[in-house]
Symmetry: C2
Subunit: 302 residues, 2 copies
């Protein structure tokens, strides 16, 4: 799954797409087995509010991935102008539906809706995104086990492990501290006994911190932020940034770029994820894993 | 409140005892005002299981502090061998008692009791210790507000602010990652926009990390762990460690020492908390603050 470059001095490119495909086919075979043994399949419900193009694309990709894995998916599409009660009604219906094992509220929600209030109503046992404060609290606390670990962080961890990087005792720097990526990645790395520092907008001289890190996970959304001077020789670099930049030569007129100056990182790091084809596909694969795990928990199937 | 040493080159000793007394007298005057205006006082319930000497002392000090501030306290004392249901019964009674605004389960609980299960039953609105996973989750997440911030971390922050240390953008290192001290302090410092690193048992060369920190909060429980070589010139050092060591000359045959080699820190740091008389008294003061705030929230009194 890991392609070594021709020149020995160049970093390994961690092939998230291939690893994700392997995981998805494992999920598919588990779903098949579940269906054969107990006549049930996992179910994912998606709530999409409004018409954001990017959200529509993400949701479409997630639903397509469910289909391919044999996971049943249902969707509630609500107009941008809908009331909070409409979202709540859809959510509570899915909370009570025994054929639904995972519920995903596609973020961001339109401004007039109270994201916190809505996410807090989501059944803990179906919180496959892991964004409920109880899941986040249990992720942060020692000796506790969250029911679900957020998908992108879980995907990053899997890529780190596949890159052969030992995590215990390593210096890890996470760039960005969003609730859905940076924060849970930092908490997850800490659970695996890394020494973790979070770098953010208020950090002074961030490159002095990152250039001592064995592991860098960056989720800043700033193209080319991470130059060679930011990296320690041999570091593993996981790039969660996705920023659309104009590109007339591409099909849609734009392409996605990460936070890392890929060419420079290749010369310094020992392993790097590409964008696209790195963390992105892993996030969807982990959503399938979380949904499958949830159904296994409900049906006591293993 | 901050005593400058005679020799200008020595660090300021942050007088936690004096600052705590000031806060406690402010709480007392607020309680008096509440009683005068609405005829109510805040109430704290304490659940103490077993006969640990240290726990008994802590609880006694907390209850005494409540009395002095005019806060009503009630206590459920349960034998070491009690069943989980007995703790639950006491807890649920306090959850429902409208005259109780804060509930504290003194930790650690005896081994046979499920701490997680018990703490999770505690009413969120009365969780003055801030250990419920929802409060911890909301402490960790941006844009969320925990109902209560744990007392020792809150006390450390107050001492930092009183020491004149600007927190935004500063490098902070927290030593230790317990659920009740290290973790919530790290989360709180991050909320205040410090660049935070948690150092723990698996961290390699911890002194290389601490010696770059502007702020050090140490909660390792290892006497004299923090020597001068661990410190950056001018750092502020908050010592949460308390370890009893034998001392025949002292009244009880032992005395409490912190993690910091105090004499060495005085020569390097710009400000240091003593042990005892630093974070300890602040923890109790913050418990009173949290209980008062909880009562104010219930009675909509300000």
């Amino acid at each position: 799954m890991i392609h070594h470059q021709a020149r020995k001095s160049l970093a390994t490119i961690i092939d998230g797409k291939a690893i994700a495909e392997e995981i998805r086919s494992r999920v598919a075979s588990d779903v098949k087995r579940m269906k054969a043994y107990i006549g049930k399949v996992p179910g994912l419900a998606v709530i999409l509010v409004g018409q954001r193009r990017d959200s529509q694309t993400y949701v479409r990709n997630k639903i397509k991935a469910c289909e391919e894995a044999g996971i049943k998916s249902v969707m509630a599409e609500l107009p941008n102008c809908c009331a909070e009660e409409d979202v709540m009604t859809a959510l509570l219906k899915f909370n009570e539906d025994p054929s639904v094992h995972g519920i995903l509220v596609q973020l961001p929600l339109p401004e007039h809706l109270d994201e916190e209030k809505i996410l807090n109503m989501l059944s803990l046992e179906k919180d496959v995104d892991g964004f409920h404060p109880v899941n986040m609290g249990n992720l942060s606390m020692r000796g506790r086990e969250p029911l679900f670990v957020p998908c992108a962080p879980k995907g990053c961890l899997e890529l780190l492990i596949r890159s052969g990087m030992e995590i215990v005792g390593k210096k890890a720097v996470v760039i960005g501290r969003s609730n859905i990526v940076g924060l849970p990645i930092a908490l997850l790395l800490q659970r695996h006994h890394a020494t973790v520092t979070i770098v953010h907008a208020f950090t002074k001289n961030p490159e002095q911190i990152t250039c001592e890190a064995d592991i860098i996970v960056t989720a800043a959304g700033v193209p080319n932020l991470i130059r060679s001077s930011w990296l320690k020789q041999g570091a593993v670099v996981i790039d969660v940034g996705t920023c659309p930049i104009e590109d007339p030569s591409s099909e849609h007129g734009y392409r996605l770029v990460g936070d890392v100056c890929h060419e420079e990182a290749l010369r310094i790091a020992s392993a790097v994820t590409p964008v696209p084809g790195g963390v992105g596909p892993m996030t969807i694969a982990m959503l399938l894993c979380n949904t499958l795990d949830s159904a296994k928990r409900v049906y006591r199937f293993d």
